[in-house]
């Protein structure tokens, strides 16, 4: 039988915003804390730390996930995009830039705490289903709390980017 060696620290290697990162990390550290404390990428916010507020949402291997509910060691081999890298680069970057402009124009942020995660969450929907209805937009953003705006302007901004990209 294999003798297990339970680890309390592990070496990990993954990509963050296109740059390769290699570090030894404590296994109990979540991905959000690793990005913030070790890499200094503080655009990934930490609110509730149990998956409810959505502030820590980032993109892992092309899909949005909660960085507070993923261990840093689980990102080994993954391709991570945080808000710091989201508005640059490929076609997805153009979506985030469009969303940023529209959020700005429509006052879809006040304190900005929820904004990085809102943008990444909305970008996933705009990329996959630009024809999404207002109802679908609300459903897709349902996991992201905003304590300032009352949501209307956020939904307006996302809707406007959807409309301009689906040509409807």
């Amino acid at each position: 039988m294999n003798t297990p060696k339970p680890a309390t620290e592990l070496d990990v290697a993954f990509t963050v915003n296109g740059e390769r990162v290699e570090r030894r990390v404590p296994v109990r550290q979540n991905l959000a804390d690793f990005l913030r404390d070790t890499l200094g990428l503080t655009g990934t916010h930490v609110g509730c730390e149990h998956g409810v507020c959505g502030a820590c949402t980032l993109r892992c291997n092309g899909v949005i996930v909660r960085a507070c509910l993923m261990l840093a060691v689980q990102a080994d081999g993954a391709d991570i995009v945080t808000i710091e890298g989201a508005a640059t680069g490929n076609y997805d970057g153009a979506i985030v830039a469009d969303l940023q402009r529209e959020f700005h124009q429509r006052n879809a942020l006040q304190c900005g705490f929820c904004t990085p995660a809102m943008l990444l969450t909305a970008a996933e929907l705009v990329a996959a289903r630009p024809q999404a209805s207002r109802e679908e937009i609300r459903a897709h953003l349902s996991g992201n709390y905003c304590r300032c705006t009352g949501y209307q302007s956020i939904v307006d901004a996302v809707e406007s980017v959807c409309r301009s990209r689906s040509g409807t």
Binding site: N2, P6, I64, L71, V73
Partner: protein, 292 residues
């Protein structure tokens, strides 16, 4: 808060995973999508000393059809089930339910098996599996065994899984020609756990229902099969009068208790209203009249 200290193992296959769990037993927990377990750790509601990460076990993931059964691997993410053509074709109930399971970012990571093993009383998938008469495939040191979904959920967050066992897959009989599904729930916010809800699978011809399986969630410490209501509905055309009779029969099936959020009476009322709506969905009835 931050998770308490633990150590971490990453097995390469199921047999190694079983070796690991044999050594640590109750001290260890399987780590699947982490959407319930890591949240519980961060809130310090759980403090296992070892996490055995099964995310690398590709033999646990994926959706296939074999011998009239839809097979969903335990590690299949919610999001894959939501968009799977095989699921839409053979178990449309799951496709109806999936958008109600948490939020997009949680569904990208949360797994089918994790949801079944966690057995939250308000979770959608356990009830769907009961309505679909699924069977769960479980592996442990002693080999493989199967447990029907309706016998699997034994209490509040309790299941038939024993220490040392891992849930491998669910096997769901593929829906036949007349098979139809309905799903309804009430939640405070889209994606939240339900206040009450139900999953229904039945054979439907016109307005006549046969082989009716109705499973409620959020109304008790575990999902509940509403057999009395189902048998009323099997007695003839699903007219508004019969649906009303089935609503009354729910008193034989459900006994929701008061809790800090809602009274049992309110949950019972919601269950009745949702039942009428779901049956209306099945037979394309205008549900407003029956949904009192």
């Amino acid at each position: 808060m931050k998770a308490p200290a633990f150590s971490y193992l990453r097995p390469e296959n199921i047999s190694q995973a079983i070796d690991f769990i044999d050594i640590y037993g109750d001290e260890a927990r399987w780590l699947a999508g982490g959407q319930s377990l890591l949240a519980a750790l961060n809130m310090r509601l759980a403090a296992p000393s070892v996490l055995i990460d099964i995310n690398g076990l590709s033999e646990l993931a994926g959706i296939s059809v074999n011998a009239g059964k839809l097979i969903i691997g335990a590690l299949t993410r919610h999001r894959e089930i939501e968009h799977s053509p095989l699921v839409a074709q053979h178990a449309s109930l799951l496709a109806l339910a999936m958008p109600h399971v948490a939020h997009a970012a949680v569904r990208n990571r949360g797994t089918f098996g994790g949801s079944i093993a966690f057995a939250d009383p308000a979770a959608e998938l356990p009830a769907c599996c009961i309505a679909l008469d699924a069977e769960f495939v479980i592996v442990g040191r002693g080999g493989e065994r199967r447990v029907r979904a309706r016998h699997f959920f034994t209490g509040l967050y309790e299941t038939a899984l024993q220490t040392g066992e891992i849930l491998v897959a669910a096997e769901i009989p593929c829906a036949r020609d007349k098979g139809r599904a309905a799903f309804r729930e009430l939640a405070r916010r889209h994606g939240d756990y339900a206040i009450a809800g139900l999953a229904v699978q039945a054979a439907v011809e016109g307005d006549v229902l046969r082989d009716v399986n109705i499973a409620f969630f959020g109304v008790d410490s575990k999902p509940v099969l509403a057999e009395h209501a189902a048998s009323v509905l099997e007695q003839g055309a699903a007219t508004p009068a019969r649906i009303e009779q089935a609503q009354h029969q729910l008193a034989q099936d459900l006994a929701p208790q008061d809790d800090v959020h809602y009274s049992g009476a309110m949950r019972m009322q919601l269950a009745r209203v949702l039942l009428a709506r779901a049956i209306g969905d099945l037979v394309n009835l205008e549900t407003k009249s029956a949904a009192r």
